[in-house]
């Protein structure tokens, strides 16, 4: 292990520390009914994301590819995408709980990624160096998954606000949630963006590996296309006004199970990865 302090894993851990602080700060504000500084929460997330980005950059230098080569990296990349989207979308909302929820998602994915040490093995899922399109395909698809993660968050916020309004009991958190109309609009935009990203990712895969049987496992192809179909169906139904409001939010939340499950199929169980039979930790790298 390198003796220098700031390794890729350390940077990722520090980023996660900022996210956790943002989460705890939001929880403290809610539980003790203290004022929640929107700027403070946003700053914590922004700092966390910067350090997180640096950590992934270092990881990319180690592997000489986009850091989406094992389960740890994939989950970290989804968390990074989700946080980036929050930093872009979040300021549009006047209320502050969006940052709290985003921090929660980043922490959840971060904890999940380190839950099994073997997931951060040196085994690579793909020989990215050989075909840069694979890395482009994977990173766009995972960024799309990050969009869907954020969609799940905003859908959850919609359902909470809707539940408060329907039960006619507005608790302390209710004023901190964005309005129903704002959440509905952002849900639609996120869904459209996610479907577009996944469409691009699938198009890249189809263009590059069409007619090359064996390059893509049927199970992985099926999983990816199924996720795309699920979200595309939800988008069409929403645009046709067949699935709106609460039902649309329920879709947005529950459909996130599809990309989560598909990740397992796409990545495959540990023994399915040839080099993962004897996983070795990725060597840490410093600048």
């Amino acid at each position: 292990m390198d003796s220098t302090f700031l390794t890729d894993r350390t940077a990722i851990a520090i980023g996660a520390g900022f996210y956790t602080t943002g989460l705890l700060y939001g929880a403290w504000s809610l539980l003790f009914r203290r004022r929640h500084s929107r700027i403070g929460g946003y700053a914590l997330m922004a700092l966390g994301w910067l350090v997180h980005t640096y950590g992934l950059f270092l990881r990319g230098q180690i592997t000489n590819s986009c850091p989406v080569g094992n389960r740890f990296e994939i989950l970290q990349f989804v968390a990074w995408s989700c946080t980036l989207l929050y930093l872009i979308v979040g300021p549009a909302f006047r209320t502050s709980l969006f940052g709290f929820f985003s921090a929660g998602m980043a922490v959840l994915l971060g904890v999940l990624s380190i839950a099994v040490p073997a997931w951060d093995s040196a085994a690579r899922l793909r020989p990215f160096g050989a075909d840069p399109w694979v890395a482009v395909h994977a990173s766009i698809a995972l960024f799309g998954y990050g969009v869907f993660a954020l969609l799940a968050l905003t859908s959850l916020m919609y359902l909470l606000q809707h539940r408060n309004l329907r039960r006619k009991r507005l608790d302390h958190a209710a004023p901190l949630l964005p309005s129903i109309v704002d959440l509905d609009q952002i849900n639609l935009r996120l869904l459209a963006a996610g479907v577009a990203l996944l469409t691009i990712a699938i198009a890249i895969a189809g263009t590059n590996w069409h007619g090359q049987p064996g390059v893509v496992a049927p199970a992985k192809l099926f999983a990816t296309v199924t996720v795309w179909l699920c979200y595309a169906f939800a988008l069409v139904q929403r645009l046709r006004q067949r699935c709106i409001a609460e039902r649309f939010a329920r879709f947005g939340l529950l459909l996130f199970l599809a990309p989560l499950l598909s990740l397992w199929v796409v990545i495959g169980p540990p023994h399915a990865t040839p080099a993962a039979t004897a996983p070795q930790p990725v060597p840490e790298r410093t600048p």
């Binding site: 309004l165 006619k168 129903i180 109309v181 409001a245 649309f248």
Partner: protein
């Protein structure tokens, strides 16, 4: 000169004694209001009277020459409503003398309101008094009592924190609208009826920069008048059903005996809308909007009780001031009544009073939810 002091009688039903369904049943239509006034006028023992009818209460204040006139108030009311006295009894409140004065003071000061400390009730009491004056129902006793009521309401606001914060049906409704629509600039508002609270809600929405406001009223002239006042537009009442889908926020406050906005009507309106929600605020009693509408997707329906319930937490700190405000008002009420009826005595239960009370026993009596004869 008679030895009997004037008897101030109160018979009332309010949100504190009766649920919404009962208040709906006991609400006075304009025709019944007129009929009740005529019955009271016909009672030779009643010299002055005033009927305070708001969304949350119906109270009859009467000055009589004998305490026995008290039960007749209930009889007249039940007769007009065509109900048995037993229907009214569990929900009725009776007060006499200083207790009745103190009750009116508390009502006007907002202590008895669903949203403690709200100011709309004072305006409603003033309007009721003005109307009764114009109709010639007010005499020297009620005139004095009401004038002191207005003074006391002002005093309580300055001496206590009962009016601290901004809590009212209108502001709660606006806060809810913002939770549904965010900024209200692009929200179209429809106000049905010309009730005082509806008008205040429209004003509050306008203050939050709500988009276009339209008014619909059975009296087209009134709708046009409000439209001019709010720089809005008037919507023909007959077009309610077809135009409903074009509005985001609907405030309804009419005296219609049946719901104006039915389930099929709102369902049809929602089909014509895109994915935008519809916020319905029913400030009427009886309700203007069918309760089943609340089950429709993307529809948020709030009635008076709902809005009041939401304000409860916000006004908790006001409640802490109630005891102090009541003590202040009761002192003033007692002092006033002693001036108006120097021979009056203190409170006893109405139920325990003899059938032919003398000067001592017949005054300053109070009971809550006392069974009526």
């Amino acid at each position: 000169m008679s030895c009997r002091p004037p008897q101030l009688l109160l018979l009332g039903v309010s949100h504190q004694t009766a649920p919404l369904e009962v208040r709906e049943r006991l609400a006075l239509t304009p025709a019944k209001h007129t009929a009740l006034a005529a019955e009271l006028r016909a009672d030779s023992a009643v010299s002055e009277y005033c009927i305070l009818a708001t969304c949350n209460r119906l109270e009859i204040y009467a000055v009589a020459s004998e305490p026995a006139a008290g039960p007749r108030l209930a009889e007249s009311f039940c007769h007009i409503q065509a109900i048995e006295p037993a229907v009214l009894a569990p929900y009725a409140v009776e007060r006499q003398g200083a207790a009745a004065v103190a009750h009116l003071f508390a009502v006007a000061a907002g202590l008895d309101s669903q949203m403690v400390g709200e100011t709309e009730i004072l305006g409603q009491v003033k309007d009721t008094y003005a109307g009764a004056c114009t109709a010639g129902h007010i005499g020297p006793v009620l005139n004095r009592v009401f004038q002191k009521t207005f003074q006391s309401a002002k005093l309580v606001r300055s001496e206590t924190a009962i009016g601290a914060g901004q809590v009212s049906v209108a502001t709660v409704a606006v806060a809810l609208a913002e939770r549904i629509f965010g900024e209200l600039r692009r929200s179209r508002v429809l106000v049905i009826g010309a009730g005082d609270i509806a008008e205040k809600t429209a004003k509050a929405l306008r203050n939050r920069e709500a988009g276009a406001i339209a008014f619909a009223n059975r009296t087209a002239g009134r709708a046009e008048e409000l439209a001019r006042e709010f720089s809005g537009s008037a919507l023909p009442f007959a077009q309610l059903g077809t135009a409903l889908g074009g509005f985001d926020i609907v405030v309804s406050s009419t005296s219609a005996p049946e719901p104006l906005l039915t389930l099929p009507m709102v369902y049809g309106a929602m089909r014509a809308r895109s994915s935008r929600p519809l916020f319905l605020i029913d400030l009427a009693l009886p309700r203007d909007i069918a309760p089943a509408v609340a089950e429709l997707p993307n529809v948020y329906l709030y009635n008076l009780d709902d809005l009041a319930g939401l304000a409860e937490e916000n006004i908790a700190h006001r409640r802490a001031e109630i005891a102090r405000a009541r003590a202040l008002l009761e002192t003033r009420a007692t002092a006033l009544w002693q001036k108006l009826a120097p021979n009056a005595t203190d409170t006893t239960e109405i139920e325990s009073r003899p059938s032919a009370p003398d000067c001592h026993q017949g005054s300053d009596q109070a009971s809550v939810s006392a069974p009526l004869p």
